[in-house]
């Protein structure tokens, strides 16, 4: 297969793919997907948020889980970077800290697939010293 190089190649590949598989359309509501936000401020990037994000996208795609992975700014948990927020359809979002690739894999397998909670959750009522 020739590689995609020009915009025309991209158009061709997209059309080819569209006939074979469902590509996500803009109109689809994100509510129906698992939504993951990766904390990507200086602290997140420095501790490997980009690799975690790449891993999440690849792994979710391979395991056929409908998900949208986006980035967000700092969540205020710099000590626990990389942090990710996972929101399953119809559920409250949960923030996980210290997410490396191994942890990300565990989150997909246990929390996203089976609904089991895993270690590393940062509770919503977690207080930092500035709040006091």
């Amino acid at each position: 297969m020739t590689k995609i190089k020009t915009l025309a190649d991209l158009k061709k590949m997209k059309e080819e793919l569209q006939t074979k598989v469902d590509l996500r359309e803009k109109g689809d509501s994100a509510e129906n997907y698992v939504q993951i936000k990766v904390g990507m401020a200086t602290s997140g990037i420095a501790s490997g948020a980009k690799q975690v994000m790449d891993f999440l996208i690849e792994a979710l795609e391979k395991r056929n889980i409908e998900a949208v992975v986006t980035q967000t700014g700092d969540m205020g948990y710099c000590f626990a970077e990389p942090t990710i927020e996972v929101k399953k359809p119809g559920e409250e979002p949960i923030v996980f800290g210290y997410v490396d690739m191994k942890k990300a894999d565990e989150i997909i397998e246990k929390y996203i697939k089976l609904g089991e909670l895993v270690d590393g959750i940062i509770p919503v009522n977690y207080q930092v010293i500035d709040d006091k």
Partner: protein, 181 residues
């Protein structure tokens, strides 16, 4: 922050937080004059002179979640180590641009890193923002523009995992050609 790509990923977060709708990332590698220059320009809310004067101070941040901001100071430090400099121009309500240079062959210049991955990540993670990415190596130039890409994708999401793969391949193919003399 051990690559230039990671710094770019970081600095662009400032543009996103400044509510930019168009972000332009240009990289110019000039091996003849021995420098690499990166300019990140956005049409976000901009900064006033007072903030601009303090922005390279690590204890300056506009965020409310904590009191320090290391993005700009780290990049400035990195440029300084490689015989380069960092300059910021901004006009409140109009635009901001961050310009940073490094001596190309300086031993302390960070490598470029995974630039195609970084661009695709930014584009896919912020589907509502338009990105322009211009990469020049000496006289060779490649330009990637999400306005054009979105036009071609029509109703398909730019952050679909399969589309991401395609975009990365497209950028890589064009980049590899830039380095052919």
């Amino acid at each position: 922050m051990n690559t230039i790509s990671m710094h770019i990923l970081d600095i662009v977060q400032n543009s996103i937080r400044a509510k930019a709708t168009l972000i332009e990332i240009s990289i110019h590698e000039n091996r003849v004059k021995n420098y690499i220059e990166i300019v990140i320009k956005d049409n976000g809310e901009g900064m006033d002179t007072e903030l601009l004067n303090h922005v390279t101070d690590p204890y300056t941040t506009t965020r409310t979640t904590r009191k320090v901001g290391m993005g700009i100071p780290l990049l400035k430090h990195s440029a300084g180590q490689a015989n380069g400099y960092l300059k910021i121009y901004s006009e409140k309500g109009v635009e901001t641009s961050v310009q940073v240079t490094f001596q190309y062959d300086h031993i302390d210049r960070p490598p470029l890193g995974d630039i195609s991955g970084t661009i695709v990540l930014l584009v896919a993670a912020n589907p509502d923002i338009d990105f322009k990415y211009i990469h020049e190596v000496n006289d060779n130039k490649y330009e990637f523009n999400t306005c054009e890409v979105k036009g071609i994708l029509e109703n398909v999401r730019i952050n679909d995992p399969k589309i991401r793969g395609m975009l990365k391949e497209m950028i890589n193919e064009n980049l590899s050609e830039l380095y052919v003399i």
